[in-house]
């Protein structure tokens, strides 16, 4: 009989829900009774929302939202060859049998094609032997006897494109570095994942760190770099720990260091931490940051391959891009091209969030339709609401409406529709969400994350923000919407780096596909009952005077027993009157922020 293995997810999401304690508890139980069960901790399994996740192999029984107290039941179930019913995952389906016992049966996993994520959630990210037994370092051993140009040719032929967002052909990038003449060359792994609500890179770092390292070693061998850096966000404490361990394991096994595996090739990797600046995901800014300077993007040319870190030729790829490399080398170009489309081969690792039933990190072949992602993997919209849009590419991306649902997820199609692939965030928006608010939210993000160097990004985004505020306040006009489009387009056209060139996307696409929502604010600037700024007292008022007494600025007048009146001039919109009114006679201007805002 196959040995039973309990896999406890140790990704950041599950860890925050005390998966570590679960792991310890399970170990104790197994040890106490000397059971023939192995307890493994794994990296992120992607379905973070359902965490902590525990999978019992070989059957693949999938337990979600596990608590420490559930551990005994899990062990008992194994002993009895049964399952703990209450911990099984329940599919969000209207009819039929919707309880799922194993991972394979769950829609979230069933419709995925896990290539890059194949080891995530399977192996122990702290154990190099796990990786090795799972095809690890096969590719490295293969390349060390091969001419470096051949490796680059394989990558070129595979059509692998940078997974950081821009989609630049990876092989070409490597060729630039190889051809650059310099004593010293560097490669960098960009792990400065900063899009709000995206954590694909983190999943891979915490689930399959050795694949990234192997990819980097192969890149270094092919391009002639002797030193590599992983630039990772300081906030990713777990990732940093996993990577540090992986690096030292690799050094112990001579996958890193001098004369790697007996060849005359030497290479090592160092981790550099970001200090909280989204713009450092831009490669030239990232370089400045490693050098110890402000992360301000520089004009290209010169490209990093010409003049990068400390003025030396440098290649920068995303976490996912490097992680692909070993598999492409091992399995070949044909295999890689069997996934995805002609121009965008391979798979896409995405982070599915928002108003869908199943959220988490997923992987699908490039070209998979948004519909399949949202409705098959995502299990449809939460609470049976209506689908409104998806926002791809995070703060640099755009909102795509229902009419784009059949669009395939690949670089070209998404860009054509006005959005970008970006690093892979997919935010699903339902009928309750205001597109204006969402555009506004992402604009806030890019404004605070702009480096402040170039005029369009620094000043222009702020002006867009002011226009949106004006529209939201009800004092906007059709002209302001057009002005938003004008500003947005010119900012895209004349900003210095990728951040500025994409920052207007959420607003522009929101206007392109949901213009009526903006117009609604304009047409409805005056509320049904006549114009008022924040609050209005209706006829329901019995004249108790409580609102008048509680108003901090003396904006309410009226005699006892009479309907009271709010003076809009004085009102600061604090909402005190609204909350104290015993008769719910006070109504709120719909267009106002949720709690009202004191603007002093």
């Amino acid at each position: 009989m196959e040995r039973t293995i309990i896999k406890v997810c140790g990704g950041s999401g599950c860890k925050s829900q005390h998966s570590k304690e679960i792991f310890v508890k399970l170990c104790q139980l197994v040890w106490k009774e000397s059971l023939p069960i192995k307890v493994n901790r794994t990296g992120c399994q992607g379905f973070c929302e359902m965490g902590p996740i525990v999978v019992v192999e070989p059957k693949g029984i999938f337990y979600s939202k596990v608590k420490v107290d559930d551990c005994e039941d899990i062990i008992n179930a194994i002993k009895n060859d049964s399952v703990v019913e209450r911990l099984l995952f329940v599919e969000h389906e209207v009819k039929g049998d919707f309880k799922r016992t194993t991972m394979k049966e769950i829609d979230f996993y069933k419709y995925q094609t896990r290539v890059l994520l194949k080891r995530c959630g399977i192996i122990d990210p702290y154990k190099i032997d796990d990786y090795i037994s799972f095809d690890g370092f096969k590719a490295l051993k293969k390349v060390l006897s091969v001419n470096s140009q051949n490796i680059i040719d394989v990558i070129k032929d595979s059509g692998l494109r940078g997974r950081g967002g821009a989609g630049f052909p990876t092989g070409l990038k490597w060729q630039f570095l190889k051809d650059a003449k310099s004593e010293e060359k560097f490669i960098i792994c960009n792990a400065d994942e900063g899009d709000p609500g995206s954590f694909m890179d983190r999943t891979i770092m915490e689930g399959d760190p050795f694949a990234i390292i192997e990819g980097m070693i192969i890149c270094a061998y092919a391009t002639g770099a002797k030193k590599g850096f992983i630039y990772c966000r300081a906030e990713y404490a777990e990732s940093l720990e996993v990577l540090e361990n992986a690096l030292s394991e690799c050094r112990k096994h001579n996958f890193l260091g001098i004369n790697i595996l007996g060849s005359d090739f030497s290479f090592d990797i160092e981790i550099k931490m970001g200090a909280g600046a989204f713009v450092c995901g831009e490669e030239t800014a990232l370089i400045r940051s490693i050098e110890g300077d402000r992360g301000t993007p520089a004009a290209k040319p010169p490209f990093p391959a010409q003049k990068g870190l400390w003025g030396r030729p440098t290649n920068i790829n995303n976490v996912k891009t490097y992680a692909y490399v070993p598999q492409i080398i091992t399995n070949g170009v044909k295999w890689f091209r069997s996934f995805g489309t002609e121009k965008s081969p391979g798979t896409a690792v995405l982070c599915l969030t928002g108003k869908v039933n199943n959220t988490g990190v997923i992987e699908v072949p490039m070209g998979t339709s948004l519909r399949d992602i949202v409705f098959k993997i995502g299990g449809g919209i939460k609470n049976d609401k209506k689908f409104k849009a998806v926002l791809t590419g995070g703060p640099s991306g755009g909102c795509l409406p229902k009419s784009c649902l059949d669009l395939g997820v690949d670089y070209e199609s998404i860009t054509q529709a006005g959005s970008i692939m970006g690093s892979g965030g997919v935010l699903v928006i339902d009928e309750d969400d205001s597109m204006v608010d969402i555009a506004d939210f992402f604009l806030d993000f890019t404004i605070s994350e702009s480096c402040g160097k170039c005029t369009p990004c620094r000043e222009g985004l702020k002006r867009m923000k002011l226009l949106i505020e004006k529209i939201k306040s009800g004092s906007g006009s059709e002209k302001d919407i057009n002005e938003l489009v004008r500003l947005g387009n010119i900012i895209k056209d004349s900003a210095s780096c990728g951040l500025g060139q994409t920052a207007p996307n959420p607003v522009l696409t929101a206007i392109r596909y949901f213009r009526s929502e903006f117009e609604e604010f304009i047409n409805k600037s005056n509320f049904e009952n006549g114009s008022f700024k924040f609050y209005k007292i209706t006829d329901k008022c019995v004249g108790c005077g409580l609102c008048k007494k509680n108003c901090p600025v003396g904006a309410i007048s009226g005699d006892i027993g009479q309907v009271h009146i709010i003076n809009d001039e004085k009102c600061i919109g604090c909402g005190k009157c609204y909350s104290v009114c015993p008769k719910s006679a006070i109504i709120k201007n719909k267009l106002m922020d949720k709690n009202g805002k004191d603007k002093d």
Partner: protein, 164 residues
Amino acid sequence: MSVYSADTINEIDDLKEILDSAREVSDLIPVLKKVQDRKNYIPKGVVLFLSDKLGIPVSKIYGVITFYNYFNLDKKGRFVIAVCEGTACHIGGSSEILRAVKDVLGIVPGEITNDGKFSLEIVRCLGLCSFGPVMMINENEYTKLNYDKVREILEGFLNGENNN
């Protein structure tokens, strides 16, 4: 190059180990990070010291510190108490909150307790006017406060109930 004040030297002394690890320009950010983690802020003396040691102008280090979200230059406690002084909260009695903080912790806005555990600051409207007076301790919001409630909350912190 620069002449340090007595304060500066004190600030630096207990960071000796961290500062000694600064050897080249690219060590700047990692070292600042360690200082930030230890002190919860970057003392001015550290900036002057690193400027000298690494040969980076003070203005550049200042530029780096103010660029990244991770760093701040003001001394802050482990628990940052932020009291809303928006109009609504002000009239609703935020001064009572400040009085309670002073009575329990002995600090006024802009100050930090001797053990470095709490610091107090005044913030502009938090947008929670309907629930005022309001204060935040780190990420947590405390609403509809009065003198006694604040005392209770702070004493809870002092007794270790809320320390996580």
